[in-house]
Symmetry: C2
């Protein structure tokens, strides 16, 4: 079977591609494991030396004709991860809507024209939630996003659900927690600090944390989110029913708790590299995000969170081949 | 102040225009009553002999340039009522998205370009709700529409809220109950029967009701919905806060209760004109709609429902100048 990953040049998209190549199968249209014959990655840029079994389709999701080049008539699985991130969409309103809304519609329209409706996994976000939030969110909490990124994600969920109801795709939307620890460099996402406070100190670099240490983060590791994307794809349509949107499980960790775990794993010198440099623009966005969830539906469907923040940090250390004291 | 009503050639839009002319004022940008200097109506068609104080702008909401012709640089109030109705959007997927989603975006973009952000009242719908519904919905119930019309309305709400948050408009979205009694003729809306069971018998015509008599309807009269649209406009922004979407109050009436009221008001002969002719396509849509709500937020904000179905029917009889036994 053929697979498309939008945002396939990004960190999660690329990890997903590698994991799919390693597993070699995805649930086919009849639910039985089907061999993956080809994976296309659509993105603006790609890491160096992508695996030879992957085809890279370079360009912007909303560019004319690009999605048609990325989909084959018989593409059976689509993972839609491409997006302008939160602070980026907040800074450039038009760009955010063009990529995050128009791009998603273009993709859904192209899927509608395929030989048969593909399974489509849409990476939404807990940025869907905001405004007057309960202390603990659950599967019944209504999204009220306070960023354009969040609004675009929620709108994408409704589009995916409606195209699914009409039988044009078999869609599943996952609201991702903040992914921690991302490798590489800080990016425009308001959540960038949530990885930086671990990554930079482990690399011997000082991290300037823009939010107070009491700030809570609802997080999931890269390994778990890749597992979740594949699991969401492989679940039969009947398991989803008429509700195609799911809050993924996660764990709640404050910046202070994260720094304490860093100290346990990499020592005082590493922990001391986290400095606090308040940034009101970032802080205002982050303080509006939800911190605690109950996710009984995800658990019942077989999705799982990381056991604790120490496991998340140790997995990053192992994945990156780092030395810690 | 200048006012635009999209869908201003339709029944509610036209009643709203007449009511605005009669009142003569709307809350201005500073909250104080401001004299209405002009009202433009945008729609595909208009009733005969519109009031001379109204300007009609004929065309499709999504047609290039039309919205720019309908808005003036200093338009201060926009009532966005234009839509392809439920059964219409279900029958023609592309048309529904073009008018109900693209049209709404075009309107919001045009508003963003005005001299100052206009107040914008968006007519959403209880068709936002569907799927696994609680027996009684409330202000916390999450929309899960089971029609494209419902999906497009929810998406419109999120757009209005995001444009409001960015300061491009000062938006307010109202989820309208089924409006009963509409005058005129049956239309493509799946809810058309809810008016027909009263209107046709009162006009001496047999009505074929496509749903069982146990079917409940969450309804509001035309008088009350026009009052609600104006009240939503006139409330200060602070009263809405970060939540710009509201379930309007209504009353729950079964078809059987409606026919009983018709009998009380217009006699047995009228009631006997309601025949039952099941239509599975219509029934499937209608049975997915919510029937009972608690609307404490709307009540607190000063919105009001009709006292009972008898009052709704009597208001229709009075408005249309009908003779009843």
């Amino acid at each position: 079977m053929k697979v498309l990953i939008t945002g396939g040049g990004g960190f999660i998209g690329h990890r997903l591609a590698r994991e799919l190549l390693e597993r070699g199968t995805l649930a086919g249209p009849d639910g039985a494991p089907a061999a993956i014959s080809a994976i296309k990655l659509l993105d603006r840029a790609f890491p160096p030396a992508p695996d030879a079994r992957l085809t890279c389709v370079p360009g912007d999701l909303s560019a004319p004709g690009l999605i048609d080049a990325a989909l084959d008539r018989d593409t059976a699985a689509v993972f839609h991860l491409a997006a302008v991130v939160s602070a980026g969409a907040e800074a450039d309103f038009d760009l955010g809507y063009r990529v995050n809304l128009d791009g998603t519609r273009l993709l859904l329209e192209a899927c509608r024209g395929l030989q048969r409706p593909p399974r489509l996994v849409f990476a939404s976000s807990v940025a869907a939630f905001g405004g007057d939030l309960p202390a603990v969110l659950d599967d019944a909490t209504t999204p009220n996003p306070q960023t354009s990124y969040g609004a675009q994600k929620v709108i994408g969920e409704y589009l995916v659900s409606d195209y699914t109801r009409k039988g044009y795709v078999d869609g599943r939307s996952l609201r991702l927690p903040t992914i921690v620890v991302r490798p590489g460099r800080p990016n425009l996402a308001a959540s960038s600090f949530a990885s930086s406070i671990f990554r930079e100190p482990l690399n011997g670099v000082v991290c300037e944390c823009p939010v107070p240490e009491s700030t809570g983060i609802w997080l999931l590791s890269p390994r778990r989110v890749v597992d979740a994307l594949i699991h969401a794809h492989d679940l039969p349509a009947a398991a989803w029913g008429v509700n195609r949107v799911l809050n993924l499980p996660g764990i709640t960790v404050t910046v202070a708790e994260g720094v304490a775990a860093l100290r346990r794993i990499a020592g005082e010198a590493a922990a001391a590299r986290v400095r606090f440099a308040p940034d009101e623009r970032i802080n205002r966005i982050v303080q509006g995000w939800p911190v605690r969830f109950r996710t009984p539906r995800a658990t019942a469907l077989g999705f799982a969170a990381d056991p604790d923040i120490d496991a998340v940090i140790r997995a990053y250390v192992a994945d990156e081949g780092l030395q810690v004291s």
